[in-house]
């Protein structure tokens, strides 16, 4: 494991090497193969995942039986099914590895014990959730104001690496396109 998680923590709180060593002992490193599910619909979400290598996505199966992707997490992002994780109720979503992925796993029990023992991590998570919520609010505004086609071009501008790594049918699912419509937009934007 590299020190990306330590770097991430230090963006928000100042932590000694000794305290970090204690913090990291609450986590487990785990590997998932491409298309492997970390969580299935109907299961209780028992962990939060910090991506150290790879990509995760969250999706649900809609009324037509089609997978609807609602969220991606690349390196240095957290992913969990927050409602299920907090309330320990069955999840309405799946979490799946988009490519071979390495994560730091924080189980719910370890999460609670760690926060009791290390209040500095309360600040860290407060900052992470505050920023995550702020980003969700901005995405929401963007979706009200712009067409899905504009959203694709915005994506292409600010997250080019992300668009290259994620299979096109998942980008289409996230943006609510059919794969054919996405191909058409891509052709138009290249020509």
């Amino acid at each position: 494991m590299d020190d990306s998680f330590k770097t991430h923590i230090n963006k928000f709180v100042k932590m000694s090497d000794d305290e970090f060593a204690k913090i990291i002992s609450y986590f487990k490193v785990q590997h998932f193969k491409k298309k492997e599910n970390l969580l299935n619909e109907g299961q209780v979400c028992k962990a939060s995942y910090f991506v150290t290598k790879g990509i995760l996505r969250k999706f649900f199966i809609n009324g037509k039986g089609v997978e609807q992707t609602t969220e991606f997490a690349i390196e240095n992002w957290w992913m969990t099914e927050t409602f299920s994780f907090i309330n320990q109720t069955p999840s309405e979503f799946f979490i799946q590895a988009v490519e071979n992925t390495e994560v730091l796993v924080l189980h719910r029990d370890a999460h609670d014990k760690m926060l009791d023992a290390h209040p500095l991590m309360e600040k860290y998570f407060r900052c992470v959730y505050q920023r995550t919520y702020a980003a969700a609010q901005r995405r929401n505004k963007f979706r009200y104001e712009h067409s899905r086609e504009e959203l694709y071009h915005f994506f292409r501008k600010v997250q080019p690496e992300f668009l290259q790594r994620v299979p096109q049918y998942l980008v289409a699912s996230y943006l609510g396109f059919t794969p054919e419509y996405l191909s058409e937009i891509r052709r138009k934007s290249i020509s």
Copy 2:
């Protein structure tokens, strides 16, 4: 001021009366008249608001010059423009009182000082933001799965008091209807 804020804090953390007395000293009570703006687009959002009486809404003005409501806060909810509040950059949203409203105001400076002096409030805000984000994720899923008309009926079922208090043109703005279309749906659901 009643003790609704104390009750809200005690849902998430155990706090002594002495500590609460210190916490509350960081806040100011403020009253806003119906349709008064707490924040304008382009201003830096300098405070977070906890609603003790009344309703706030967040909106932006879209490309067609029309107000688009994205969020409401009733009693015991927090409201702020999170991105602007964190980064102290100009806000992309307005915050406005829907009816005569009483709020507890936590200015950004007081927010930072309070969190330094009372780490227990880090836990409180971590829990609040975690739940706020979880709720946003569920709303997002609901919007993917259901028509706006279904969203209105869902609203009517789980938040009847809210629908009675908020003027219909704001409900329409939130759901992305024209006021005429909302009237039509209401007529259909009564008959």
